[in-house]
């Protein structure tokens, strides 16, 4: 009698490596972000050995063409081809720390086996810009805000979350729990608000509505960008319900 053997599923996809960790004696597990399948976790057997043919082709923060055999628990990375290794980015510690931060954010906002071409393209585009952009802080803020837009977490920036009234031009409070701005006069003592000045609110609105080509031409005050950094850190932390590990390294290096 012919034995029944389940047919293996194969997948070939372009992807960016978000995370790597050692597994077993000489294996590594890669977390890949692909446009067609979202997050894919795959094991590369024997990749840590010097004679592995795959070792030099794949590392964290590289864009690859991956050939994966889909397994029930864990998929197997059978072959990879480099598309872009971002070699120039990897020569600067400050840029590497930004790269780690972007990768971790994408991992937090992506889901396994859920196609998300927008997040993939957003990450790919931002990695390409990392070396070219003069204002790295602005690029990080633009990346964060647009990642929130893509993921459906854009905070409410025009209407008070408590009263429902249209917000006047001026300073307001940001509520990370409710996800948006609150008029100062309606603030409750229980919420942990962050004060946002007029310029920071304007900057946040502009960044969420515009492409990088328009954003890079504008000169934003440094204190507005710092205010945005604090707001984004708190808001992302609330949404993901975890600490962003690479944020600490990012502030240490830059």
């Amino acid at each position: 009698m012919k034995a029944y053997r389940k047919k293996k599923k194969y997948l070939q996809t372009e992807s960016i490596v978000l995370k790597v960790y050692d597994f077993g004696e000489a294996d590594r597990i890669f977390t890949l972000l692909s446009p067609s399948n979202g997050i894919i976790r795959a094991v590369a057997k024997g990749i840590r050995k010097p004679k592995s043919r795959m070792g030099g082709h794949i590392d964290i923060m590289s864009k690859v063409n991956a050939y994966i055999s889909i397994g029930e628990n864990l998929s197997n990375l059978s072959q990879v081809e480099i598309i872009d290794n971002y070699t120039l980015l990897k020569k600067d510690l400050s840029i590497i720390s930004i790269g780690f931060y972007l990768l971790e954010l994408c991992e937090k906002f992506s889901v396994e086996n859920d196609p998300n071409n927008d997040i993939y393209q957003h990450l790919s585009f931002t990695l390409d810009l990392l070396l070219l952009s003069a204002n790295k802080n602005l690029l990080i803020r633009w990346f964060e805000i647009n990642l929130l837009v893509i993921s459906g977490f854009l905070p409410e920036l025009y209407t008070c979350l408590i009263s429902g009234e249209k917000l006047n031009e001026g300073d307001h409070l940001f509520s990370s729990i409710n996800g948006g701005l609150v008029d100062k006069k309606y603030a409750t003592s229980t919420d942990n608000y962050i004060l946002m000045n007029k310029n920071s609110i304007k900057a946040l609105r502009f960044l969420s509505n515009n492409l990088w080509s328009s954003v890079e031409k504008i000169k934003f005050p440094n204190n507005s960008l710092e205010n945005l950094r604090i707001v984004m850190r708190k808001y992302i932390q609330t949404i993901t319900n975890t600490q962003i590990n690479s944020e600490k390294f990012l502030s240490k290096v830059n």
Binding site: G24, P50, G56, I96, Y101, L103, E104, N245, S246
Partner: protein, 212 residues
Amino acid sequence: MTPLNNLQFMPSALIKLIESFRLLPGIGPKTAQKLAFSTLKMSTQQVNEISESLLDIKIQLIFCESCQNISENQHCNICIDDKRDSSIICVVEEFMDVYVLEKSGAFKGKFHVLHGSISPVNGIGPDEIRIKELVSRVKNTPEIEEIVIATNLNLEGEATAMYINQLLSNTKTKLKITRLARGLPSGSDIEYADETTILHALGSRVNINESI
């Protein structure tokens, strides 16, 4: 770890031993069973020796105060060896790397073990590994002239090397900081080499008379 199936007929002590063997890297359920059955066949004295040595590595081994390598005393055998060159320190990620470098017999200096590499995505920052100890060692030891950074050749290893370089370059004026060469491994075919390796191998090419 997946649970063991169909082992209800076995005595609980044996199941516990199989489960314990499975905690070791590279040991699957079948190997664990083989090891457990072999243990059963051993004499009580042999089993005692194994269990004592297992306990000893947890009780007797500490980290060397100077290089952070595993040691039985305050300072490890490499650090107290006067014949070794104290002016050159090789920085490695894990203590296993020390043994690999020692086996080659090519390095006669001393070591510093970091116990990991910077991997912010996995929650490991500079404070989680022993970089602070390295910096204070370099500052407080005047004879150190060269630091060889032998972290792994991946992005985490590179980031660790760059971070150490950033911290150490301001500590001493005459400190030389080097990185292990990267290129093609011995016995490999160029046909299968990746672009990054080829790039580095070409970049670090040496005069044929100096290469042997």
